[in-house]
C-alpha cells in the first residue's frame, strides 16, 4: 500500500473529482468560516445570480476585522462609531439572516476572531477541509485539518457549491528536534522557521510540522505555529492530531459526542503521516538552540534573535527600503530600542495561554511610563476566562488597556492603530509597511517578549526577567 502523508489523506478524502490534465481537482469543503470584510461581494454575487447557500450548516460567520474593541456602553453593547464598519457589520447580519447562516454577532457570547472561535467551539476538527476568506485560516491546521485562505470569488464558490477548484499543492516537512528552552515560545519557533526558509520559502507547498518539539507543544502553541505558515508563503500548515488534540476537543460544544466521538477518534488516529511516506521537500531545525526572536524589517522573514543585530553590509533595494521605513541601520542591535506601543492580541497570540504568559510577567510590575499597552483577547470566551482568572486586573494594575475581542491593532481597521513613526512590539503576524497604521513601525515578537518590553519601555530579553 502507498505510504501517505497527513496532507495526502485529507486531500484524497475530499476529492469530489480528482485533478485531470485539463481541470483542477474539485475539493469538498467541510467547514466554511465567514467574516464581514471579505464576504459582502460574495453574497452580492449570489443574489445577482439567483443562487443560494448549498450547505448553510457547514457555514459559520462572525465579526472581527473592522469591529471596535472599545469598552461596552451602559446598555451593554459595543458602540460602532465608524459608518463604514457599521455598514459591513450590518451587511453580514443581513446576509446571514437571508441565507440562513449561523452568526456570532458583535458582542455576543461566541463572537471573536474567526480563527480563535473555530477551535474553541469545537467546529475545527482533525481531517476536515476548512476555508475562510482570510489567509490565517492556516491556524486550523494545528488539528490535522487542511485549512487555507481563499479570496472573495472563492468564498462565493464555496457558498454556492461547497466546493473549490484546486491544484494539488506540494508537501514540505519541517521537522523540529529538541525542546524549546525557557523563555522561548511557539511564536519564536515559527519566526525562526520563516527566517530560515524565507517569506516565499513555502510557496506552493503545504507544510507539515513534525518532530519531538512539535509534539511537545500545547494545542494553543500549535495554532500559533500553523497560523503563520502563510507568512512563509505556504498554502497551509498541518500537524498530526494526537492525544493533546483529542483532549482539547473533548466536550467542546460542536465536538462529536458518545458513539460519534468514539467513531471520530478511530478515524482521527489514522490521519498521521505513514512511516516512510515521502514529502516533496524536507527541512529540519533544532528547537534547543533557539532564542527569543524579533523582526527588524517589513516582512516576517526579517527576524533575528533578540540579542542579534540587523544584517550588516549593503542592504540592497528591498532591505534598504525596509530599514529606511523602520528607521534602522545595517548592523544595529535591537535590544534596548525604545518602544511607544505594545500590542498583545491577534489570531496568532490572543488565546488564554498567551494572556497567561503576558500576565505572569506583568504581575507585580508596571508598564514603563509613556508606553501604551493594548491587551485584546481573541474572543468573548477568552475574555471571560481571563477575567475569571483575574488576568484583566493584572493587566489593568500594570497600566495596560483591557479591550473587547477582535483583530484590533493587528490589521488596524477598527481605529486601534499606531500613529505615524511610532514603534510597536506586537504579538501579531505581520510587520508589513503600514499594517498597524500608516507610518507605524512594527517589531513582531512573542507575548513574553512583548510583556517584558512593556515593562522596560525598550526591546527586552525576557529571559533576564524570568531568572
Amino acid at each position: 500500500m502507498t505510504r501517505r502523508t497527513l496532507f495526502d489523506k485529507v486531500w484524497e478524502g475530499h476529492l469530489v473529482r480528482p485533478e485531470t490534465a485539463d481541470t483542477p481537482a474539485i475539493l469538498y469543503v467541510d467547514l466554511h468560516l465567514v467574516h464581514e470584510v471579505t464576504s459582502p461581494q460574495a453574497f452580492s454575487m449570489l443574489r445577482e445570480r439567483g443562487l443560494g447557500v448549498r450547505r448553510p450548516g457547514r457555514t459559520v460567520a462572525t465579526m472581527d476585522h473592522s469591529t471596535p474593541t472599545t469598552p461596552r456602553g451602559a446598555d451593554g453593547r459595543i458602540p460602532v462609531v465608524d459608518p463604514q464598519a457599521a455598514a459591513q457589520i450590518g451587511a453580514l447580519e443581513k446576509n446571514c439572516a437571508e441565507f440562513g447562516i449561523r452568526l456570532f454577532a458583535l458582542g455576543s457570547d461566541g463572537q471573536g476572531i474567526v480563527h480563535v472561535i473555530g477551535p474553541e467551539l469545537g467546529l475545527t476538527q482533525p481531517g476536515m477541509t476548512i476555508v475562510c476568506g482570510d489567509s490565517h485560516t492556516s491556524t486550523h491546521g494545528a488539528f490535522g485539518a487542511l485549512a487555507f485562505g481563499i479570496g472573495t470569488t472563492e468564498v462565493g464558490h464555496v457558498l454556492a457549491t461547497q466546493c473549490l477548484l484546486q491544484g494539488r499543492p506540494k508537501t514540505l516537512a519541517i521537522t523540529v528536534e529538541g525542546r524549546l528552552p525557557r523563555g522561548v515560545t511557539a511564536k519564536d519557533l515559527i519566526l525562526a522557521i520563516i527566517a530560515k526558509i524565507g517569506v516565499g520559502g513555502g510557496t506552493g507547498h503545504v507544510i507539515e510540522y513534525r518532530g519531538p518539539a512539535v509534539g511537545a507543544l500545547s494545542m494553543e502553541e500549535r495554532m500559533t505555529v500553523c497560523n503563520m505558515s502563510i507568512e512563509a508563503g505556504a498554502r497551509a500548515g498541518m500537524m498530526a492530531p494526537d492525544e493533546a488534540t483529542f483532549e482539547y476537543l473533548a466536550g467542546r460544544p460542536h465536538a462529536p459526542r458518545g458513539a460519534a466521538w468514539d467513531e471520530a477518534l478511530r478515524a482521527w488516529r489514522g490521519l498521521a503521516t505513514d512511516e516512510g511516506a515521502a514529502f516533496d521537500r524536507e527541512v529540519s531545525l533544532d528547537a534547543s538552540s533557539l532564542e527569543p526572536m524579533i523582526t527588524y524589517g517589513t516582512n516576517p522573514g526579517m527576524a533575528i534573535p533578540v540579542r542579534g543585530s540587523v544584517p550588516e553590509g549593503d542592504p540592497g533595494a528591498t532591505l534598504g527600503k525596509a530599514l529606511d521605513y523602520m528607521g534602522l541601520r545595517p548592523g544595529q542591535r535591537l535590544l534596548g530600542h525604545p518602544i511607544d506601543v505594545v500590542f498583545i492580541g491577534s489570531c496568532t497570540n490572543s488565546r488564554i495561554s498567551d494572556l497567561r504568559l503576558a500576565a505572569g510577567l506583568l504581575k507585580g510590575r508596571k508598564v514603563a511610563q509613556g508606553v501604551r499597552v493594548l491587551v485584546v483577547p481573541g474572543s468573548q470566551q477568552v475574555k471571560r476566562q481571563a477575567e475569571g482568572e483575574g488576568l484583566d486586573r493584572v493587566f489593568r494594575d500594570a497600566g495596560a488597556e483591557w479591550r473587547e475581542a477582535g483583530c484590533s491593532m493587528c490589521i488596524a481597521m477598527n481605529g486601534d492603530q499606531l500613529q505615524p513613526g511610532q514603534y510597536a512590539v506586537s504579538t501579531s503576524n505581520r510587520n508589513f509597511e503600514g499594517r498597524q497604521g500608516p507610518g507605524g513601525r512594527t517589531f513582531l515578537a512573542s507575548p513574553l517578549t512583548a510583556a517584558a518590553t512593556a515593562v522596560a519601555g525598550r526591546i527586552a530579553d525576557v529571559r533576564e526577567m524570568l531568572r
Partner: protein
Amino acid sequence: MKTIQSRTVVLDIDNIDTDVIIPARFLKVTDRSGLGRWLFANWRYDAGGAPRPGFALDLPEARGAQVLVAGDNFGCGSSREHAPWALLDFGFRAVVSTSIASIFQSNALKNGLLPVVVDRATHRRLLAQPGAPVTIDLEACTLTLADGTSARFPIDPFARYCLLEGVDELSFLIDQEEAIAAYEGRTAPEARAT
C-alpha cells in the same frame, strides 16, 4: 483575452505584500468598485494625502500602462481580493515577477488579471527598462520584448482555458452538481455535520 500589448511600469522591490497593494483601511467597503484610487496608497500619497512626486505609477510615461513588473514574491500576505480589484481598476491587466504568491495568483486569475512568472534573466531585463513595450500572448503563453526575444510563462491550464474562452469557473462548478451530490452521499457528511 488573448494578447496584451503595453508599456511596463516597474516596482523593483521584492515581497510586495497585499497590505502595500491596498492598505486595510480601504477594505471597509461592501462592493469592489473604485479601489484603483487606493492602489499602493501608502507609497503614492504622503500622510496628508498629497501625491508623492516621482512614484512610478504616477509618472507621465506610466499613463495607460497595463503591465506591472515587480520584484520577487509579489502579492504575499493577506487573501484580500481587493488587491487584484485595485490593480485592475487602476488599469493593469498583467503582473510580471519571478514568483507570485499563491492566493494572490488565484484571486488575480479569477478576475482576469494575468499573473506572469518569468525566468530571472528576462525579469532582470524588464526591471532594467521601465516603460519598455511588451506583448503578452496568453494563447502561446509568451512574453515578448521589443527586440523580439520572448520568454514562456507557466499558467494553470484550466484558468487559461477559462480566460481564453470566457468560461466562468462558478458555472463550471455548478455543472458538477451530480458529482457533488454523489460525494455527499458517499461520505454522508451531513451525518458528520455539527
